[in-house]
Amino acid sequence: MSYSYSQRRKRRGGRSLILLLILLLPAALIVLPSSMLLLAGMIPTIVAIIVDRDEDKSAALTVGAMNLCGVAPFIVQLWQQGQTMGLAMRMLTDPKSWLVMFGAAGLGWLMYFFIPQIVVAIATLRAQSKIKELEERRSLLIADWGTEIMARPDPDKPEPVGLMDDMGATEKQP
């Protein structure tokens, strides 16, 4: 199967992104300093989008969210101070700005790498607890029914009968 559902979905997603960029382009031109700052600051996210092969794009989402946190203070400052190209350029030439924006993205990458490890560790702990609970339930069954329940059920085993039932009740004298 060469042309899979995921490939079609990816292609459709790519088309939507281009369409969105075309639609946003006029708005970006209107707020060009902000757009320029946003575009430069969100470079790690763009890289994450490109390198992330996951369908859900969880790396891009994780890095993007943190990256946006890093860019957001400069955008707000730019808007507060009149949104000029000069201010935007000053911000872009300030290494602190890059440190904050890219640092936030780096934090995002760290979270992307460590949170799954924590989740697995928690899942392992939960599994051990579950094993203990299941083993307790199993021990209770053995205590109630004996070790014979450890054998596999025999589907051909006949239904048990009482001795008297098996051979007919003792004949009774009238």
């Binding site: 949170i115 048990p160 001795l163």
Partner: protein
């Protein structure tokens, strides 16, 4: 009361007598009291010692009890008929039953008789006493005893105990004589060889069978002779020689050949002592003679002799009967002689009896049917001796029994812990059937006997409980108490008494493991004919102890239900203590605990049926099995889950990785969202 020290100083017999004198009376069902402290040796019988007794409802009647102590059953089946005999020449039977015989701490069977006023006519056959005159015999003794025998015969019973030592004077003054006890032992058990017919005297005392009225009349004849002489006609001669003399010469010539008898007694004595049962005087012959009608005198029959003797083991044997006896005594030496055809040739040529020779040939042929076995020689000799002497007992490997006396002989063997193998083999080899085939006259009573022996053979071929030689014992001898070693001393004669005995035994620390053994089941299956035979198979099965146990309780419960007693708490507790395999049948612990509690509660009520209902409840069994299957599936399911979790498949799977990344995305999105809002608000305020 003497102190124990005093008793220790006494000679043993005196000490025993002193102890016995303090024994309390023994109760017989509230109807009679037996005094162990008052023995009456003058009334001792073949069945046991006599003791003074007292009837509860009639204190005036003087009576005595025979407390049986022989290894043979009493003739209980005859007692009801015997009690109805009201004859001055018969000791009146008043009561009977098993009693707790306190001197021995066990139960014994007691028979209560009215006490004769006088003493025993003859204490021992070796004694000498004043002879009875012929007139005294013909006018007093003979009519009285004839009347007694007639009454017994009318009730379908024989006496089997007519002998000089079993006659008592009715009172001290008159010379009237009466018959003593004939019920405490099987017929013929206490009879010396002198008073028994030749064929019966060759049988062991316990295996003589009930006999016929003809046998009683023969015994009467010899008894009259002894009384007339005042001594035995053959003093200082042992039983073997007496039998040999009777065989060689015939009874009458052997006993009277050297005597001069009064004319008045010749005829009846000759008629009664005739060896051929067909020629022997009957009751009516004797009656007619007493009325004065003289019958044609019987000539003493001389047994058919061989033209030349048959030499066997150094003996010169002239008659078929004595040859049969000689062969039976040494079967190992007899078998080759028979197989060589010497016996048949001698019968054919020397005796000239073609019919008997043919019968001997048939015996040899029939003995070889079914191939040779270890006991082949004994079977061959047994058959040939029957062919040579048809009325004689079946003689096989040391046992000598009449076909209708096998039951009591078997009872004696088991009672004495002797081997029962010869008796079992005797039945399996169909010797009783051959005995019947050898008889010159076929009697109607042989038909049910043959059918019964056929059934017994089938019973013997089964090895399980409820079959085998023990079952045959009780079938042949219904009056025999249960001879299970554990409860033999309880003298249980009915199923109810047997259960009572087991209930009592249950309280003793010396009780065995199981209350039921082959004797108990044999006894119950014989006395409770409606018992479901299919319950017997699981009783023998050792591979399924639960089924065996339930079958055991079911059998006992059915017997209790039908015969009582109503409560058997000790036996119930005993059964409960053995019920572990039954509880294990239920797999659920809670069910088991609940069942144990219920069973213990039911055991207190003493009803065995209640125990069966609890442990053999099919609904409970099925529910438990269903629950068990469900538990098995649950266990399997849990095991699978545990194994999955232990393998860490989830933790190492893509799903876990994917979930982790999603969690990371969600967490960072939430953190970022909050941070963003916080930043905007903070900067907007600043």
């Amino acid at each position: 009361m003497a102190s124990s020290a005093e008793i220790d100083d006494m000679p043993p017999l005196a000490a025993k007598a002193r102890q016995d004198s303090h024994l309390p009376p023994v109760d017989l069902g509230g109807r009679c009291e037996i005094m162990p402290a008052s023995p009456l040796p003058g009334f001792d019988s073949a069945g046991g010692a006599a003791y003074a007794a007292r009837l509860s409802r009639d204190r005036k009647t003087e009576c005595f009890a025979i407390v049986t102590d022989r290894p043979v059953p009493a003739r209980i089946e005859m007692m009801s008929s015997f009690r109805s005999i009201d004859n001055p020449a018969v000791t009146r039977l008043l009561d009977w039953g098993a009693v707790d015989w306190s001197p021995e701490g066990r139960r014994r069977f007691a028979v209560i008789f009215e006490r004769p006023g006088g003493r025993r006519v003859m204490n021992d056959l070796s004694d000498m006493r004043e002879p009875f005159g012929d007139d005294q015999i013909v006018r007093g003794l003979l009519p009285a005893l004839l009347y007694a025998l007639r009454e017994m015969n009318a009730r379908g019973m024989t006496c089997g105990a007519i002998r000089p030592t079993n006659l008592f004077y009715k009172d001290a003054a008159s010379g009237m004589v009466m018959l003593g006890d004939c019920l405490s032992t099987p017929a013929g058990y206490g009879q010396p060889a002198l008073v028994e017919t030749i064929e019966r005297s060759m049988a062991q005392p316990s295996g003589r069978g009930p006999g016929t009225i003809g046998d009683d009349l023969y015994a009467l004849g010899v008894t009259l002779l002894v009384l007339h002489l005042g001594r035995t006609p053959l003093p200082d001669i042992d039983d073997d020689t007496i039998i040999r003399m009777k065989m060689d010469r015939g009874t009458y010539p052997a006993l009277t050949g050297h005597l001069r008898l009064p004319q008045g007694l010749l005829e009846p004595l000759r008629g009664l002592m005739t060896d051929d049962p067909k020629q022997r005087w009957s009751l009516s012959d004797l009656d007619l003679w007493l009325q004065g009608r003289r019958l044609s005198p019987k000539q003493p029959q001389v047994p058919r002799r061989g033209a030349r003797p048959f030499e066997f083991q150094g003996e010169q044997l002239m008659h078929c009967r004595s040859l049969a006896r000689g062969l039976a005594r040494n079967s190992a030496a007899a078998a080759p002689v028979i197989e060589r055809g010497d016996v048949e040739k001698w019968v054919r040529r020397a005796v000239g009896d073609e019919t008997r020779a043919e019968m001997v040939q048939t015996a040899i042929t029939s003995a070889n049917v079914g191939g040779r076995s270890a006991t082949q020689e004994d079977k061959l000799v047994a058959r040939v001796t029957m062919a040579l002497d048809p009325p004689s007992p079946i003689r096989y490997r040391g046992a000598a029994v009449m076909p209708d006396g096998l039951g009591t002989a078997l009872a004696e063997a088991i009672w004495q812990n002797a081997s029962v193998q010869p008796y079992a083999e005797l039945v399996l080899a169909q010797l009783p059937m051959f005995w019947v085939n050898c008889q010159a006259d076929f009697r109607p009573e042989y038909v049910p006997m043959i059918q019964a022996y056929d059934g017994y053979r089938s019973l013997l071929e089964h090895a399980g409980m409820g079959f085998g030689i023990e079952r045959i014992l009780y079938e042949l001898c219904p009056a025999c108490p249960c001879l299970s070693p554990a409860i033999r001393d309880y003298y249980a004669l009915t199923p109810a008494e047997l259960l009572g005995a087991l209930d009592h035994l249950a309280t003793k620390p010396t009780r065995g493991r199981d209350p039921v053994d082959r004797h108990v089941i044999g006894f119950l299956t014989t006395h409770h004919k409606k018992l479901n035979d299919r319950l017997l198979a699981p009783l023998s099965g050792q591979h399924d102890p639960a089924r065996r146990m339930i079958a055991m309780i079911s059998v006992l419960a059915d017997v209790q239900d039908r015969y009582g007693p109503a409560r058997l708490p000790n036996l119930c507790n005993w059964m409960v203590s053995l019920m572990d395999p039954v509880f294990k049948r239920f797999k659920n612990r809670e069910t088991r605990e609940k069942m144990k509690a219920e069973v213990n509660q039911a055991a207190r009520d003493g009803v065995l049926e209640a125990l069966v209902r609890i442990v053999d409840n099919v609904e409970a069994i099925r529910a438990d099995d269903k629950g068990f299957l469900s538990a098995m599936r649950q266990y399997e399911n849990l095991t699978r889950q545990i194994e999955q979790l232990k393998s860490g498949a989830y933790v190492r799977s893509d799903a876990a990785d994917h979930a982790g990344k999603q969690v990371a995305a969600i967490v960072t999105s939430v953190i970022a969202g909050l941070t963003l809002i916080g930043t905007i608000i903070f900067m907007a305020k600043g």
